[in-house]
Amino acid sequence: MKTQKGATLVGSLVAITILSTTLVSILNLQESIIRSKFFLQYDNTANLLVAEGLEIVRSIYNIRTNSNFPNQAQEVKYQVDYTTSTLNNVSNCTDTSINNSCDMDINSTGAYAISTASTGNRIFYRFITIQDSNTIPLVTSTVIVRNPKDGSLRVYKATIKLYKID
């Protein structure tokens, strides 16, 4: 008489556990990828704000006077928005650390502009760095998107050189 051996209960349970652990891991991974869509939903706006930062500096540079455009070799950080024709100094804003001095908010006209509130949980932060402004200014526009839920950051950057066209 021949006995055919099947899977034991323990064997089956171990197989199911391994299978389910794998499945749950894959699903969690997929979910975390989708969660990163938080940043994707702001991708377009962030890229536009980066480019806008450069346009604003270019517009100020075109009408520059001794007082409204820097004249120094070292890198300096500024905050600008579409309403201003001047560069406002900011400090302590870096790619990895941001604060209220460089945050942006939707103003009364519905536009993204320099935030006037002292505190807040903003999504967009922008600062401009200008280097070699005494020769050919190297302008870098940085926009940082912050996820208010976990504080994670995503950085968007663009750089141009402002050649004199006098």
Partner: protein
């Protein structure tokens, strides 16, 4: 010949364990499906608005005689042709008849233009809303014409 299989108890244990696993897995699966369905319309909305802004930017760069009247922007393109952008019936239109957005997909609820008279910087602000009013998008760009 005796064939050994699972007992009823063993089968029920396995089915019970499988059910618990399926229930656990169904939560993330449902949230993934829900998120994908919900994010599709805002993605289309953002891509469409990005296209509109890029189009306006390209034309404004080489424009002249820019004139702004609230939600209407008019200028002369590089060939001297008159171009008008405005919001009509929750859609952005070029020269009144060319639709750049479609209100059956999403609504444009505001279109604003402004000009900084000191720097000649023209700013475009578009606000749009999904048809179920759940998603709002604000897009903004400032353009400095090349001849300035």
């Amino acid at each position: 010949m005796t064939k050994k299989g699972f007992t009823l108890v063993e089968l029920m244990v396995v089915i019970g364990v499988l059910s618990i696993i399926m229930l656990t897995i169904s939560q993330p699966v449902a949230s993934v499906i829900k998120y994908q369905r919900e994010s599709q319309i805002p993605d289309n909305m953002r891509d469409n608005l990005q296209f509109v802004i890029n189009k306006m930017e390209k034309e404004l760069k080489t424009s002249s005689n820019v004139s702004i009247n609230g939600g209407t922007l008019t200028f002369e393109d590089q060939n001297g042709g008159l171009v008008k952008y405005s919001i009509v019936d929750n859609e952005i239109r070029k020269n009144d008849n060319t639709k750049l957005t479609d209100k059956t997909i999403f609504k444009v609820i505001d279109l604003k233009f402004s000009e900084n008279i000191t720097t000649n910087l023209t700013t475009i602000i578009i606000k749009a809303q999904s048809l179920d009013n759940k998603d709002n998008v604000t897009m903004q760009f400032s353009v400095l014409p090349l001849n300035d």
